[in-house]
Subunit: 228 residues, 2 copies
Amino acid sequence: MDGTQSVKERRDVVVVLREFLAAVQLPENGRLPNERDLADRLGITRAELRKGLAVLESEGQLWRRVGTGTFVGPKPPQMLDIAELAERTTSLQMMRARIALEPELAHLAALNISAAEIAELQALNGACRSAKNWREYEAYDARFHHGIAKAARNPVLLAMLDTLNGVRRAVTWGRPRPEGDRPSTAHHSFTDHDTIVDAIAHGEPVKAADAMRRHLQTVEDRLVGRMP
Amino acid sequence: MDGTQSVKERRDVVVVLREFLAAVQLPENGRLPNERDLADRLGITRAELRKGLAVLESEGQLWRRVGTGTFVGPKPPQMLDIAELAERTTSLQMMRARIALEPELAHLAALNISAAEIAELQALNGACRSAKNWREYEAYDARFHHGIAKAARNPVLLAMLDTLNGVRRAVTWGRPRPEGDRPSTAHHSFTDHDTIVDAIAHGEPVKAADAMRRHLQTVEDRLVGRMP
DNA sequence: CCATCAACCATTCAAGAATTGGTTTTATTA
DNA sequence: TAATAAAACCAATTCTTGAATGGTTGATGG
């Protein structure tokens, strides 16, 4: 064979690896042979090979995962674990995230919403008003905001809001809840929702985004303890 | 046994089920026995049981999934599938999502970033400039934006940007890529990055958010075809 | 001290059996 | 015959087990 000598030649392992990658012309996300085989093929030891792979990995040329293999290209993103994420997230950080997302969603909704969806939003807002306990209110409130996101006609933003709500629910699971009393304290949210729906229904994106931002800001203020 | 008579008594299955749930006191997300066993224990037929479960499920008292079981409480949100999401998402929608997220991230980064992170951002921007091909440029660009998100100190927003980038990559996989030529066409991005880093480094959140918004807007304009 | 080799570890995947909710067919009984 | 209980079947999911893989450690020997 030809490879066994390259060790003695002291050629840098990284160079050998680059040549190999160029030779085999693997496609993006293509899989390299496993380390044991590849070390044999290149005529180098596995420890040496791993050093070289580490370099290429740090350069972002490839990525590795235990039990799976070594692949060309940047590391694919991991699907986020909602429960794990909720542990590292405070209620305030949740609100900052919502403030980042939802005004833009209201903006887009004002541009794309249908008549049926407007009616649904109004119905959900009414359901919020007549909720018999706090938990029921939160369920309708979540569906209200989800409805706006759906009307925005942007799958990515919708998915992100949904995961956001998932984290929100997981976060509130850990905290105690005022189970019995009705959400009379949230009466300001009702009028907030009204103005948001009105702006969206009249096709006024900027106004809708502003209303949503003010609404969430109020919730955040209340969360921090700044009662207006 | 005792249960076999309750069928003849014609007591409503739902009532029996509610009594059972109250008796066993399952915690939130607790799992019920499987339908065959439960039907035996309650002395009713499986079809009857399923009617009752359907009612409670529609009430949101519990949720079921094939192969898994029946559980107490509202249905947990599903983790989003990046590949599936990418199929329903256009490049333009991707940009709208980024414009919703990243200015806020730049804002927060300006408030929370450390000196080491500033240096890292500058280094990554430099790496963008000296990228030898388009793919390498995109890798560093992604790490640049990720660095800003990390400096924002908000796990939820960071996770959302990461999934966003995952979708972005999955979207661009489907499209052809200009493999060979260097990203000289993206030279305006370099100065954009400069102004963003400067604003963040000087602790000017509004300025940073504006710079980020303008930067992404330029990219979107270029995407749509409006060359400025 | 360093490189090499082997063994071991932890994670992941793949294939198949078992489990479970969902559906249809068959048997039983009034 | 109609209603209904019982069984069988279906499809999605989990569990189990073994193999494959990257990651780590330690013995061996220059």
